[in-house]
Structures are given as structure tokens and as C-alpha cells.
Amino acid sequence: MSVIFKAVTYTYLPKTPYEHQALRDINLTLDQGKFIAIIGHTGSGKSTLVQHINALLTPSTGEVQVDDFVIHANDKPKGLKKLRKKAGMVFQFPEYQLFEETVYKDIMFGPKNFKEDTKTIDEKIHSIIQLVGLDESFLERSPFELSGGQKRRVAIAGILAMEPDILILDEPTAGLDPRGASEMMQLFQRLNRLGKTIILVTHEMDYVLQYCDEAIVLKDGQVAKQASPAEVFSDESLLQAMSIEAPDCLRFAKKLQKAGLSLDLSLIRNTESLAEAILQAKGVQR
């Protein structure tokens, strides 16, 4: 179930004064089961890129392959519903997509569109609402009386109820408080461990380092680098060119390394693992 981009370009509003080429010659393979981050500046084509995965956008040239779905440039693909069930998309501020009277009905909306049986959906909903960190008392409430963070959980539950194999997340933590954000990221990590491919568009480098297996750096609609987060953050010239700052714990570790402490930078993903590495370097037994 990998996603393959072959020489994909995408142009917004071709042949008008507003013409804008958002993607240029993208060649990518996104492996199954990985937690992949897509990073880059605003306007570098991140959102455009991920919208190709469930065919919300179709390439201007080239082709996108998701499992056995192949989407060529300029053809009107059929059977999109199957693809959209397979690749679930959570947009930025997904709380805007809520519209039903109750949380229960809203979560049910996606699976129902995919003609799933009401009874199976009902069973799923009760476990999914807990998975996203809400309890069953929420099910009968109106989505519009919930707080921002709760609404977002409901919206994400609505996508999870479709049981997608690939979960695409466009800045899912934007506007959440730090605790809510890290709870959200832990949820995605759990889902990843359950076997789902996670594709995360983000500006939060801390999360990239802590949670992701792989990072894809986009610049002006082109892939500037595809590597492990540790490798991306050790590429000083790339970081400078993209004006990205490596996460604090990694920069701190680099300073320690310069000062003479021998640390394995590839093991450092967050503050805890940094502390662990320092202890180990110092030969302290716990």
C-alpha cells in the first residue's frame, strides 16, 4: 500500500493571469506503515502534494499511484470513493467539516457514505470515540457546543471511522494548546503502530523529530530532501537554505558533542532520550 509519485507537476489556474505552478517534477515513494512528515515553507506545495494522494487534485502531468489505483494526468478517474476510503484526509482546522446534529451522527457520516452497515458502524463508533480521547457521553451532544479541541477530536474520529489505511494530516495540531497537541500526536503514533501509514504536514520540527520515521522537505514545489528526521536536521546547509531551525534538544546535543561528549545523535528524539543519551555517555547506571 505505498504511494508513488511519478514526475508529477501541478499547475493552478493554467492559462490565466493567475497561473501558478505548485508542484514541479515530483518523484516520491511513500512506504507503507511509515510515519512520514512533509515539511517546507508556506506555499512550498505541501498541501497540494498531499491532496493528490486521495485524488482531490489530479496531476497536470505525470501520475500518482496509490496501491492499485493509478491516476494519470488529465483523465477523470473513476471509483474515487474506494480511494478516498483507503486514504483518509484530515484537513487543517477539520472542525469546519462538522454539520450533523449529534457527534454520533457526524462520525457516522463518512462510513455511511461508503455504504457500510449501520450496526458495524455503531460498534466502531464506541471504540473510536475513546480512541480519540473523548468518552461516550459526547456521542449525543451537538458538535457545535464543544470546545475547539474537542471538535477537532470529533472531526478526526469521523475520518478514523472510515478505517483508512493511509491517514493524511494537514497540520492537525494548529491552534491546539501544547498538551492537546501532544496528546493528538500520541494518538497518531498509536494509529501508526496499529499499522496505518501516517502522512503528516507540519511546521512543528519537534514533532517531526520525535514521532516521524521519515521527513520529506519541499522547496518551491520540488523535493529538496527525503531522509530520516535525524539526517534532515543534521544537514546544516539545507536547514539554512530553508530557514528551518532544528529542535532544541538536537541543537543542545550538538553543542554537547562539540564540547567533547560523545553522543549518538540518531538516538535523540526528544528531551527524555537526550537525557538518556547523556547518562549513557557519562557512564551513569540507573
Binding site: 484526509m89 484537513f91 469546519y96 467539516q97 457520516f109 457514505n113
Partner: protein
């Protein structure tokens, strides 16, 4: 959604773009009057030529005018049927199933079609060549003499400019919500009637909610900056009426005037020629 042609500003730098919005608004008014008053073939010829010239000068493609006319095809067909059934003057062109179709029915349909296309073209020229904000400033300036009789020119202009300002935002929002719902398996093009209704509801409710949210945010932001509708306000960019605006307006008024003359005194050209000779 973004291909919307009618009413969209197209950023070129042409003679028409540089005209004062007031000149363009008055010109549009004059031409619209000329288009919808009775006229002769000469009048049609003159106005069509002038409309084409304006489109050319503004660099509006005929294709985009054609696209904005698309929703009107059905109406034209409807009109055609009615005209064929009701208009019973002129020569009989042909007879089908014992029903005669008169020449004037066809002529009338064609003339309505031409008038509508010209109206759409000329309005497109105005909106394509004038930034929405300039348009509202122009309107405000034209209506400001009416302030004497307590006509709220500024308030209306402000309301229009806010409404115009939010059209692209709402379109963007609509596109976003459509994509989000499409990701949840909504198909706006296919499906049974009740599925289509659910699809539209899933689009409209979020759109309403976010519009209300936006308008509340905007109202708060305006209030926070002390907005007072009756306050006296200066403006950074002023509208300046130049000689070429007067010139352009005279040309438009002449064209409209000549067309009117054709309509009112179909023989005026002959009479003038006779008088000259």
C-alpha cells in the same frame, strides 16, 4: 470554482483599466440604457462593434464571456419557444404540423440574445478592468451628492465593499469544505436525490457557521478600532478625474446617443445626408 469568469477582476494594465471607475460606471449605465431601448439593425451593428472593441481593449477573452453566458442557454431556449408560440407578426417563415412560425419570432429571439450577450460583455468589461474596491469608491463618490437627503452613501459603499471582499474568501472556504466532505465520501455529482440533498446540507451548514463566525470577528475587529459609520474619513488613494476620462465618457455617450437616435428616428441618417446634400 476558481474559473468563475463573470465579475472577476483581471489584473492587466490597459487603457480601460486606467480609466476612472466613475467614468466606467456612468459609461456602463449609458450603454445599458442604449442596449435595452428599441433599436434598428444599424444600432445593433454599432453597439456590437463597440462591445467587441471594448472586450479587445480590456483583453477579456470571448471564451470567458461565452462561459458566463452558459447558464442562460436554458432561458434562451425557453424564450425561443415562447416567442415561436406567441409572436404572430411578420412573414410566415415555415409551417410545421399546421403551425406557422413567423419571421418576427426568430428576429425577436435573436435580438434578446444579442442584448443579453452585450449586457454580460459590457458588465464583464467593467468588473474585469476595475478593482472591486475602486468600484465601490466610485459608487460612493457618485452617490455622495445624495448625502444631502440623508442617503447613506458611505455605509452602502462600505457594505458593498465588505461583501465584495468576502466573495473570494467564501469561495475558498466552499472549496475547502467541499474537499473535506469529498474526503468523507460525499459525491456532489453522482448519487440519488436524497444523497445529493445530504451532500448539499453537509456543505451549506459548515459554510453558514463559518460565515457567521467571520462576520462576528469582523464586527469585533472594526469596533475594536473604533469604527464609526458617520465619522469623517480620509483616504490614501483618491480618485482623480483626468482629461482622458472625460474623453472616454464623451465617446461612450456619443455611441449610446447615436444608437438611441437610430432607435427613435430610424431615418435620421438619411435625413441628415439629405440635408447635407
Amino acid at each position: 470554482m476558481k474559473q468563475l469568469a463573470l465579475g472577476r477582476y483581471i489584473p492587466y494594465d490597459t487603457i480601460i483599466h486606467r480609466l476612472d471607475p466613475r467614468a466606467k460606471i456612468i459609461g456602463l449605465g449609458a450603454l445599458l440604457i442604449a442596449i435595452f431601448l428599441p433599436m434598428t439593425a444599424w444600432g445593433y451593428g454599432l453597439l456590437i462593434a463597440f462591445t467587441l472593441l471594448l472586450l479587445k481593449l480590456t483583453k477579456v477573452k470571448l471564451v470567458s464571456v461565452y462561459r458566463s453566458l452558459k447558464p442562460m442557454w436554458f432561458m434562451m431556449l425557453f424564450l425561443f419557444v415562447f416567442n415561436v408560440l406567441l409572436v404572430r407578426s411578420g412573414e410566415i417563415l415555415f409551417t410545421i404540423f399546421g403551425y406557422s412560425v413567423y419571421q418576427n419570432a426568430i428576429i425577436q429571439t435573436i435580438s434578446i440574445f444579442l442584448r443579453l450577450s452585450m449586457m454580460v460583455s459590457i458588465t464583464t468589461v467593467l468588473t474585469a478592468s476595475t478593482k472591486p474596491l475602486d468600484l465601490t469608491y466610485g459608487l460612493e463618490s457618485l452617490f455622495s451628492p445624495l448625502k444631502v437627503i440623508r442617503f447613506p452613501a458611505h455605509e452602502i459603499a462600505m457594505t458593498i465593499s465588505i461583501a465584495l471582499r468576502f466573495i473570494p474568501t467564501l469561495l475558498e472556504e466552499t472549496e475547502k469544505i467541499m474537499k473535506a466532505q469529498a474526503s468523507r465520501g460525499v459525491d456532489l455529482n453522482e448519487g440519488k436525490l436524497n444523497e445529493k440533498i445530504t451532500a448539499i446540507v453537509s456543505l451549506i451548514i459548515p459554510l453558514f457557521i463559518s460565515s457567521f463566525q467571520r462576520s462576528e470577528d469582523l464586527a469585533n475587529a472594526m469596533e475594536a478600532r473604533g469604527y464609526n459609520p458617520s465619522g469623517k474619513r480620509t483616504r490614501y488613494r483618491l480618485l482623480k478625474w483626468a482629461n482622458h476620462d472625460t474623453g472616454a465618457l464623451i465617446i461612450v455617450l456619443l455611441i449610446a446617443g447615436i444608437t438611441l437616435l437610430f432607435g427613435l428616428y430610424p431615418n435620421w441618417l438619411n435625413e441628415v445626408l439629405v440635408w447635407l446634400v
